[in-house]
């Protein structure tokens, strides 16, 4: 039986970490993820976990500590946000290329600059090509459930990749909501023990990790990593299926909300899904066939499955909560557009960059996006494909 509780997203992830009792936790505090190492430090002080808790002088060091610990054969976790993730950048690639299944709780916050502590996805989107699996949560429940599934996905022998469990800073990390927790015993049974085939310590056989890779070999190792990311698709679904059998909550690559017969739909990531669902319900009550695709897994990107889910929709707005600074749209738009290219009958696609640096997004904003999609569906005219929403302007904006 699940346990009814009310927790913030940070506390939910810290609880998952306590229940898993990882071997090593290395972290440096940064808003809005600070509470995760803070709660965990209390668990260590109270003797509720056996974890080696390493306080470090920077995020570069916290990820380096995780790299060393994981190579030694330990289950290593960390938490960070924004500039902290940016400071890890070099080590993120080391972790992935050395094929070390580290788990990182990413509490999404915008990247400087100008300096701001509020939510958008620019931090983890900046790390999207680093070879990390990325799962995103709509709320505290999904952040908790994703964290429980993380290690089994990452540690799958033909995957062996680090994993980032993302939730929206403040909106999810600090808001207290109802949640269903699982018992410590059930969590430990579900997550299981980590038994890597090779490790630096505790073995009779030698191992060298991260050697210099000369030109005749390095591309082959990068191909192996790319293949591992493809394998991660199967692992994500396998672990989700076992999670549903164990705890009853269903997960996949994405959630389709009233999408099957939708004429117009949104694709988005994270907490805005709650706002969008309320808007979809209101529009459905008015007879509008509105729907939503909430992406949970951004890496590996479920291109074929996503395109199939959107194939019957006339007009789709991709909602990017980070600016790609590409002059042609955000990172989610690029992926969704590429995924839909192979469809026989493609939906009209627009990109709406919204919510940057914590800019609010209300049901009224979402409704404006749907109204625009309805005009596109009706007229067949896409108009401006890459627009921003929510900024003040002295001219009339598309949204």
């Amino acid at each position: 039986m699940s346990i009814r509780e009310r927790l913030s997203g940070n506390e939910a992830v810290a609880t998952a970490m306590r229940q898993i009792d990882p071997d090593v936790f290395a972290a440096f505090p940064i808003t809005p993820s600070t509470e995760i190492p803070q709660y965990f430090a209390q668990y260590v002080a109270d003797g509720r976990v056996g974890t080696e808790y390493v306080t470090v002088e920077s995020e570069h060091s916290s990820m380096s500590t995780c790299v060393g610990a994981a190579a030694a054969g330990a289950r290593a976790v960390t938490a960070t946000s924004s500039c902290g993730l940016a400071l890890m950048y070099e080590m993120l690639y080391v972790a992935a290329s050395a094929r070390l299944p580290i788990t990182l709780a990413c509490v999404n916050r915008t990247l400087t600059g100008p300096i701001n502590i509020n939510n958008d996805h620019s931090d983890s989107m900046g790390a999207r090509d680093a070879g990390w699996i990325q799962l995103y949560a709509e709320n505290n429940q999904e952040a908790y459930d994703n964290f429980l599934q993380a290690m089994r996905i990452a540690e799958t022998p033909d995957v062996r990749l680090p994993i980032m469990i993302c939730q929206d800073g403040f909106i999810t990390s600090h808001a207290v909501e109802n949640i269903l927790l699982e018992s410590d015993e059930d969590v430990k049974r579900f997550v299981g023990e980590y038994r890597p085939e090779h490790a630096l310590i505790g073995r009779d056989t030698p191992l060298a990790v991260g050697p210099y890779d000369t030109c005749p070999f390095c591309m082959e190792h990068k191909v192996m990593l790319a293949e591992a990311m493809k394998n991660a698709k199967r692992a994500v679904l396998d672990v989700a299926a076992d999670f549903e059998r164990s705890f009853g909550r269903k997960y996949g690559f994405f959630e389709e909300y009233r999408l099957s017969d939708a004429e117009v739909a949104l694709v988005l990531i994270g907490s805005t899904a709650g706002t969008a669902k309320a808007c979809v319900d209101a529009l459905r009550a008015q007879g509008v066939r509105a729907g939503l695709l909430k992406l949970r897994v951004f890496r590996p990107f479920p291109a074929e499955e996503l395109a199939a889910a959107l194939s019957g929709v006339k007009a789709v707005a991709v909602m990017d909560k980070s600016e790609g600074n590409s002059a042609c749209g955000g990172p989610l738009f690029a992926e969704v557009s590429a995924a839909c290219y192979e469809l026989e009958r493609r939906p009209k696609l627009i990109d709406v960059v919204y919510g940057l640096a914590g800019r609010d997004c209300t049901t009224a904003d979402i409704e404006r996006v749907f109204r625009r999609l309805l005009r596109i569906a009706e007229t067949g005219e896409t108009g401006a494909r890459y627009v921003h929403m929510g900024q003040r302007s002295n001219r009339e904006e598309a949204l």
């Binding site: 290329s97 050395a98 094929r99 085939e197 191992l207 070999f217 082959e220 192996m224 591992a228």
Partner: protein, 102 residues
């Protein structure tokens, strides 16, 4: 899957390499012939050599073989020609020549 370094070479397909280039045994640097990188070559003069062995610990590539407390000629498969042995030899028993000269 445990792969030996001797079974990996520049013709090995990616499927048969180890994840992240991990190495599951010791001493595999011997299999990489770094001597090809050399542009200068140390030449040992056994007549001038007093077998003090000062050159041995200074060699960064372990390219001066020692048996029964006596050094032998250089391991040219792994010597990169850095010249440290030439610099530290107190008896001028090592000279440096351009590589490739007959």
């Amino acid at each position: 899957m445990s792969v030996s370094a001797k079974d990996i070479n520049e013709q090995t397909p990616w499927q048969l390499l180890t994840p992240g280039g991990e190495i599951y045994e010791g001493g595999t640097a011997r299999l990489t012939l770094t001597g090809q990188w050399r542009s200068d070559r140390p030449v040992w003069d056994p007549a001038a050599c007093k077998q003090c062995l000062l050159c041995v610990p200074f060699c960064p590539d372990s390219s001066i073989p020692v048996t029964d407390k006596r050094r032998a000629d250089f391991d040219y498969d792994h010597c990169k020609g850095c010249g440290i042995c030439w610099k530290v030899c107190p008896f001028q028993a090592i000279r440096m020549e351009k590589e490739g000269r007959p």
